[in-house]
């Protein structure tokens, strides 16, 4: 479904991603692992067209998308939950959700009612402005907004970050529910245990280079890799 072939991305003159290649198959859930500053966010931003790679190829469902502006990427069916969540602060919860659906114009399973069933708290806070939300609520709203675009691939940046263990457990269930509706996921996260619960396959990034890949079980079992690339 998504193939990245040797992409190189720069911030100014610093060469952030170096020949990064990865594949996400339809229906799969794939993790991008690595320490802070390894290039996980940049990888997601490169796919989304927010930080366009200088070279390399990105194909999504067979269409080349490298160099497309973010709104074209979104309309092709990729949605994005950034690590800082980026709720539109002066729109209400409902408006944040509906705007995504109206702008993206992709028909599909997800409607505001469906998203509110998934996250009941969003129904309670329907008319409140995004600015007043707690961190966890913002996360649900940002994820809900990504779903409202009815994408076929969702990019999630640090979904488990800053959540209490109990909430992370809930998130694992939620992601399971989302996947039942045929969504493919690519998520960047530092929480190896969480990734093992929600993903089948993983890539490990270090200093902008893919240094290891494998099934999540294999990564989990490989103590040397975990110690070398992931232990803090």
């Amino acid at each position: 479904m998504l193939e990245m072939d040797k992409i190189n991305t720069y911030y100014g003159t610093s060469h952030v991603l170096q020949n990064v290649s990865l594949t996400v198959r339809a229906g799969q859930s794939v993790a991008l692992l690595g320490r802070n500053g390894a290039g996980k966010t940049t990888t997601l931003r490169s796919i989304m067209g927010l930080t366009p790679p200088k070279t390399g190829a990105i194909r999504f469902e067979g269409t080349p998308i490298r160099g497309l502006p973010p709104y074209e990427v979104a309309k092709n069916g990729i949605s994005y939950m950034p690590d800082d969540l980026r709720i539109f602060p002066d729109l209400t919860c409902e408006e944040n959700l509906e705007l995504a659906r109206r702008v993206c114009k992709r028909p599909g399973y997800w409607t505001r009612e469906k998203v509110e069933q998934l996250f009941p708290v969003l129904a309670d806070r329907r008319k409140q402005k995004g600015l007043s939300f707690s961190g966890g609520e913002k996360k649900m709203l940002s994820l809900g907004r990504a779903l409202m675009m009815n994408p076929s691939l969702v990019l999630l940046d640090e979904p488990s970050e800053g959540l209490a263990p109990l909430v992370v457990r809930k998130l694992v269930e939620t992601i399971g529910e989302i996947r039942q509706h045929g969504l493919t996921l690519l998520l960047a996260d530092q929480n190896l245990k969480f990734c093992k619960q929600v993903c089948e396959y993983g890539y490990i990034l270090e200093k902008g280079i893919i240094v290891h890949e494998g099934s999540m079980e294999a990564i989990w079992a490989n103590e040397e890799v975990v110690k070398r690339y992931l232990a803090v």
């Binding site: 979104a74 950034p82 539109f88």
Partner: protein, 289 residues
């Protein structure tokens, strides 16, 4: 007492023209993050094109108020689409240079097309008389302007708060990158916002035709300076600030001219200086968009 009421009324009506220019200026800044020096030129072009409609094409003033600003929308479209778009990613001085050069170009174009001299402006059918207010005559047209200004404010507020277009504009103003990531075609949105801003300013100019009495190429610069003061005081990007600021500047210069004529023009700048020292972000920055 009589003169006090009249000075107030004159100030409010003058403020409404500044508001129409400042509203577009602040809207464009809020979304595009570009300070458009040439915004006063849209006001001037709106006035000249409206005047042309009624003097040379022989159409009604009211039709001129519609047609003139629509023509300015085309000018605004071309300017954003083919010039401004090239400088968004450059540093601020490039944007200022470009929009300032547009001021000079528009001024010269107006001189070439309409001549260097001022042209007398006509009276408006239906609104040319005056009313007795507080013992003196006050032009009906100025009262009409005092109604139009707030109506535009309410209309603009409703558009931004209630319509989905307005919500998209607010979303992009607060976070253009995320707006693009949910599928907002940001370049088209920028063009649309720029054209709306140009239209607001041009409507101000068209409506100013009977008010100012004389059309001159300097009218654009005169109003843009006031509009800049207004948006600085009100807070860049804030429509509420622009409305209240325009009202305030209108009143201040009206009272200044009447009671302290020696300070007249400098009063607004003194005020701006004080505000900048005391509250550099303006009074409404960050309160709304």
């Amino acid at each position: 007492m009589e003169s006090f009421v009249h000075v107030c009324l004159a100030g409010i009506s003058a403020g409404m023209f500044i508001w129409l220019v400042a509203s577009g200026l602040t809207l464009i800044f809020g979304v595009l993050r570009v300070l458009n020096f040439a915004h006063g030129s849209f006001y001037m072009l709106g006035a000249y094109l409206c005047y042309t409609c009624l003097r040379f094409l022989g159409i009604d003033f009211w039709l001129g108020v519609i047609v003139g600003p629509l023509a300015v929308c085309v000018v605004g479209y071309v300017m954003e689409r083919f010039l401004l778009r090239r400088v968004y990613d450059l540093e601020l001085p490039y944007q200022l240079l470009l929009t300032f050069s547009m001021v000079l170009i528009f001024d010269e174009l107006v001189k070439i097309i309409w001549g260097a001299g001022s042209i007398g402006s006509p009276s408006v059918p239906g609104l040319s008389g005056s009313l007795m207010i507080a013992g003196r005559n006050f032009p009906v047209y100025n009262l009409f302007i005092m109604i139009v200004g707030p109506l535009v404010a309410v209309g603009l507020w409703a558009f931004l708060e209630r319509s989905w277009w307005g919500k998209i504009i607010r979303a992009a103003a607060s976070d253009r990158e995320m707006a693009a990531a949910i599928g907002v075609k940001v370049p088209s949105l920028y063009t649309a916002v720029f054209v709306i801003g140009a239209w607001l300013s041009a409507v101000g100019g068209a409506l100013a035709v009977p008010y100012v009495g004389l059309l001159t190429t300097g009218m654009g610069e005169a109003i843009i300076i006031n509009a800049f003061v207004v948006v600085v005081i009100g807070g860049l990007g804030s429509l509420k600030g622009a409305f209240l600021g325009a009202l305030f500047i209108g009143l201040l210069s009206s009272f200044g001219t009447r009671y302290i004529p020696t300070l007249d023009m400098s009063l607004t700048f003194i005020l701006m200086g004080v505000v900048l020292l005391w509250r550099p972000q303006g009074f409404f920055a960050g309160v709304d968009r």
